[in-house]
């Protein structure tokens, strides 16, 4: 235990929130979700279950509020009291926003959740003691706690269903908090392969499970630092800046023409997920 080590690396250990003089160096993983393309089909949610060893909790536990979907599809109506939902619904995939100034990271007593150098909000399962303060502080409530010991619970992974488990992802026992990791197991492999070849990960070389399965391609994921990456170009076109809680574009009239926004931005979480507003045809 070295105090010097701690003090030397303190500034690297935690950045309060992103700033222009401390930009991300090689990687900053970010996502953009086009709500006009999202059809609400739930394919991303099921793919996430398959990739990340998520337990199926069953009806009783679900009714108690113990649902366990790392990415959930929310469905909103804007009926305004009309007789029918005649303008359809709005579907929103909500997942861990990997906030640059994550409220969950500051409050974990044991430091089980941190910010990685490549811009992810990490969750360290074996360090977690289960105080659940991180979920208490998450405004989006996208963190999921293992309320029971699912690996030993009946009918969660009965033989031979346990053979489907992804060996790249820990199977969590009870008392541990978890959430979307931007498929960090895939990112690690991609980065490692790229490093072996002496380069950085190319855009499209690694996909999160949700992005890969989405039938309409509503999810775009990539490295915000890479100038060639689609996600970076989208953020730039939409004039959404990672480090700002009030986007400059909102002051300008031009803002009306841009669809990109982040959810609960005013809480200064600086999320890494940008949403593109759904459109509605004005002619009908």
């Amino acid at each position: 235990m070295s105090i010097t080590n701690l003090l030397e690396n303190w500034s690297d250990f935690r950045q309060q929130h992103p700033s222009d003089d401390r930009p991300h160096r090689e990687y900053k993983w970010a996502m953009s979700i086009d709500l006009d393309s999202c059809t609400g089909c739930n394919a991303c949610s099921v793919a996430c279950y398959a990739e990340n060893n998520l337990p199926v909790v069953g009806k009783v536990k679900f009714s108690h509020g113990h649902s366990h979907h790392w990415i959930r599809i929310e469905r909103y109506w804007d009926n305004d009291g009309r007789e029918f939902a005649d303008q359809g619904a709005q579907f929103l995939p909500m997942l861990c926003q990997h906030c640059e100034s994550a409220p969950c990271e500051t409050v974990c007593p044991v430091g089980a959740t941190n910010h990685t150098a490549d811009g992810l909000n990490s969750q360290v399962y074996n360090r977690c003691v289960g105080s659940r303060y991180c979920n208490a502080n998450c405004p989006y409530k996208v963190r999921y706690f293992n309320w029971y010991d699912y690996p030993t619970t009946d009918n969660v992974w009965p033989e031979p269903m346990n053979q489907q488990l992804n060996p790249d992802v820990t199977v969590r026992g009870k008392g541990v908090m978890e959430k979307c990791t931007f498929c960090v197991q895939r990112l690690t492999v991609a980065k490692s392969n790229a490093r072996t070849e002496g380069r950085l990960v190319l855009d499209g070389e690694v996909q999160t499970a949700c992005q890969q399965v989405c039938p309409t391609g509503a999810i775009t994921f990539g490295n915000l630092v890479d100038p060639l990456a689609k996600v970076g170009k989208q953020w730039m076109t939409q004039q959404v800046e990672l480090n700002k809680d009030k986007q400059a574009k909102n002051e300008a009239e031009e803002a009306a023409k841009l669809r990109g926004y982040r959810i609960l931005e005013e809480l200064r979480t600086y999320p890494s997920v940008m949403y593109l507003e759904q459109l509605r045809e004005s002619a009908i």
Binding site: T39, C41, N42, A43, V46, A47, Y49, A50, E51, V56, G58, F62, H69, R72, I73, E74, R75, Y76, W77, D78, A85, D86, Q87, G88, A89, F91, P151, T152, N155, M161, N162, Q163, Q164, L165, P167, V169, T170, R172, G173, Q212, V213, P215, T216, A218, K230, Q234, T237, A256, K257, R259, Y261, I263, L276, Q278, L279, R280, E281, S282, A283, I284
Partner: protein
């Protein structure tokens, strides 16, 4: 002789259970140190295998009939996850949630593991030899015309073998049954366009008007349509297509529409004719006979009949006239009603009038191998079989890929008629309701451990032959592929023809390789061609585009007046088809049960959708258990009140209410199939799914619905969460 274990090619012999240990030991439940688990290291691996790095193999999904290509990630001899096959023109590398659950169908704990012979009320395990011998004995002891084969849709080489087997028996009784099938649409399309399933170009349309076709959810080929939809919403030049959905109960596609119009059930045909009338009034040129047909369908009259406001009809007509090409699709409008064919014809007429035929309604590719082309199913087939069983004309019944005991309405008395059949064989994965009634149950390989070829009914781009290859060694030694079973049966009857094939794999390989010229492999040697076919997972076929014509019979098109309310059964029941559960075949996959329904967010149970006005009239609130009773039967379920449904309609999802099948399906929800009234489409004889009239009454108690949404329901409570803007304010061409 069939043996229980098969020689596979070398790479399938690789077997490793080490990965499972690693995955589970992370939670401290098993450990190598404890001596409870063993990590097996490979002494001699195949050279492409690097432990801990997955290898991807292509195959074809079997979760629904769309035939999407899948790519399975295989590690240490186990398939872990499925992705889409980028080489398949159907899904281009994407998938749906139902497809993802294919691994759960494969690893399902409730799969049957060995052949079972009925002894009283139980099934006793027997060997395949005995089972196949028994089949031959039973089949030999009856007349050929008393043998019946009931299947779902079949295609590819299994279809070929099946046909050959029936030929060998001398029986022509092959009933192809699909509980939820667009059979009326097929017939209407054939009449209107000359093609049963024309190719729909959603990506080319500027306006899509869908009459209840849930193309983003559960209709025909949802992944393919979803991809086209993405392009439709954001074309390269920045144009955005408009989706209008007209239906009596909101589907997933309806939820994505710019305008969702609730329509009185059955009046879709009237609406279509009214649109033609409005278009003609707005200046669109229509032929004389069409004008005569639509003359009476003025906007006011149509508005009164359908319940859609004149304003909306006017706007819609203006939109269709202005933006061309458009695409009008007939979905539940056709399948639901006794006049469904007329509805579909009226809708096809609308397409014709708008000039869409040839632009967004195209001819599909022909299939150069008609013997492998899909035989599609309908509900009439089951009717016919049921009648024959009732008259004791069926002595031996095979069932494969169908669960009629679950999906047949009670009014058919199918279960009773089944009991009249002395010998029933079920080829099944689970002990579902039909297998439970059978005398001999033969367990099948899952789709992820099977060989085959698949040709889906809906041809997305060019015709392609989809390959299904095993992604791993069989999980249970006692199961067999349908191809292997048919081959074994055929060897009894036509030994000379088939004895040269050791197993279905060799038959398949031989069949493919000997036709490699027509399959694009003329210049390659056998092995290269075969390896390439397996590696790609699809073989592109060269087929001519079928001509599409547009000669919708306008003369004599009579769309009946709107229904009259029945005071005893005042409401219409619309049994809904969800993307995950469909006809219930995948109900035992827990991911699907736990995946919330997109519109109601309900999990692990059935529900009755009801409009607030209807609920208020009946004094019902959300969570009340109600009895939904038709003339044919009654079911009880919880009420979900929402505004995505017409007040004259209640809707119950299909696929729930299994009484057998497995631990995740049994006892979950209620079976809406059961109470469907025996009303049939006049032209095709198909069961009209939306013609059931019901009455709803409170059953006494109330529950808290288990769903994902909270007390806020779908409201954002003034917070900027899911934001929407008007399309005229944005310029999509400027986006990335």
């Amino acid at each position: 002789m069939i043996e229980n274990s098969f020689n596979r090619r070398d790479f399938l012999k690789v077997l490793g259970w080490g990965g499972a240990t690693v995955a589970l030991s992370g939670c401290g439940n098993t450990s190598v140190e404890d001596g409870k688990e063993f990590v097996t290291s490979y002494v001699q691996t195949a050279d492409y295998i690097i432990p801990s790095i997955g290898t991807y193999f292509n195959s074809t999904c079997a979760q629904c009939d769309a035939g999407c290509g899948i790519m399975g990630r295989v590690r240490e001899g186990r398939v872990l996850k499925l992705e889409g096959n980028p080489k398949s023109s159907i899904n281009n590398g994407k998938m749906c949630g139902l497809g993802q659950a294919g691994v759960q169908a494969h690893y399902n704990p409730d799969r049957i593991r060995e052949p079972l012979l009925r002894n009283g009320n139980k099934g006793e395990a027997i060997t395949w030899e005995k089972a196949l011998a028994l089949i031959n004995e039973k089949v030999g002891g009856v007349k050929a015309e008393n043998v019946a084969f009931l299947t779902g849709g079949v295609s590819g080489h299994v279809k070929v073998l099946l046909k050959n087997y029936l030929d060998a028996l001398g029986s022509g009784h092959h009933y192809v049954y699909e509980a939820v099938a667009p059979s009326i649409v097929r017939a209407a399309n054939k009449k209107a366009y000359g093609v049963e399933m024309p190719r729909l170009r959603l990506d080319k349309a500027k306006v899509i008007l869908s009459f209840g076709a849930d193309f983003l959810g559960a209709w025909i080929s949802p992944v393919h349509f979803s991809q086209q939809y993405a392009h439709f919403r954001k074309a390269d030049n920045g144009e955005r297509g408009v989706l209008v959905q007209v239906e009596s109960k909101m589907t997933l596609t309806g939820a994505n529409a710019d305008r969702w119009l609730a329509i009185r059930p059955g009046t879709e045909g009237i609406f279509a004719l009214g649109l033609i009338n409005a278009l003609a009034a707005a200046g669109l040129s229509v032929s004389g006979d069409v004008a005569a047909v639509v003359k009476e369908y003025t906007t006011d009259r149509v508005s009164k009949d359908t319940g859609v406001s004149t304003e909306h009809i006017g706007k819609l007509a203006a939109l269709l006239k202005e933006r061309s090409p458009s695409l009008i699709i007939a979905g539940s409008a056709a399948e639901g009603y006794a006049h469904g064919s007329q509805n579909a014809t009226a809708i096809a007429l609308l397409n014709q009038v708008l000039g869409n035929v040839g632009k967004t309604v195209e001819g599909s590719s022909s299939i150069p191998f008609p013997q492998m082309a899909p035989t599609t199913g309908n509900r009439l087939a089951l009717q016919t079989l049921n009648d024959n069983m009732a008259q004791d004309k069926v002595k031996v019944l095979f069932s494969y890929g169908a669960n009629p005991v679950f999906t047949a309405p009670v009014s058919m008395k199918l279960k009773e008629n089944l009991k009249k059949v002395p010998f029933k064989v079920a080829f099944a994965h689970y002990m579902d309701e039909t297998a439970v009634e059978a005398d001999l149950v033969l367990p099948l390989n899952s789709a992820l451990e099977d060989w085959g070829t698949v040709m889906p009914e809906y041809i997305a781009e060019g015709a392609q032959l989809n390959i299904r290859q095993p992604l791993m060694e069989k999980l249970h030694p006692g199961t067999l592929g349908m191809g292997d079973i048919l081959l074994a049966l055929l060897k009894q009857h036509r030994p000379d023809e088939y004895k040269g094939y050791e197993d279905f794999y060799s038959y398949l390989r031989n069949a493919m390789v000997s036709n490699k010229g027509a399959l694009g492999g003329a210049n390659a040697d056998d092995d290269t061609f075969w390896e390439a076919a397996l590696s790609h997972g699809v073989v592109k076929l060269v087929g001519a585009t079928v001509n599409i014509s547009s000669h919708v019979p306008a003369n004599g098109l009579v769309v009946p007046a709107p229904f009259v309310e029945d005071s005893t059964y005042p409401l219409h029941l619309i049994p809904a088809v969800s993307a995950s559960l469909r006809d219930g075949r995948n109900a035992n996959e827990p991911w699907l049960q736990e995946s919330p329904d997109p519109l109601t967010t309900i999990v692990w149970d059935s529900w009755v959708e009801m409009h607030p006005k209807t609920a208020a009239k009946l004094g019902i609130v959300e969570g009340d258990i109600v009895e939904v009773a038709s003339k044919s039967g009654a079911i009880k379920a919880q009420v979900y009140v929402f505004t995505g449904i017409h007040p004259d309609v209640v809707s119950v999802p299909l696929g729930y209410g299994h009484e057998a099948m497995g631990r995740y399906a049994k006892g979950v929800g209620v079976n809406a199939f059961k109470i469907l009234d025996p009303v049939f489409d006049k032209e095709t004889g198909e069961l009209a799914m939306h013609e059931t009239r019901v009455k709803v009454s409170k059953a006494g108690h109330r529950v808290i619905i288990v769903k994902d949404e909270g007390p806020a329901g779908g409201k954002q409570m003034g917070r900027k969460i899911a934001v929407r803007m008007s399309s005229d304010k944005v310029n999509l061409s400027k986006e990335v």
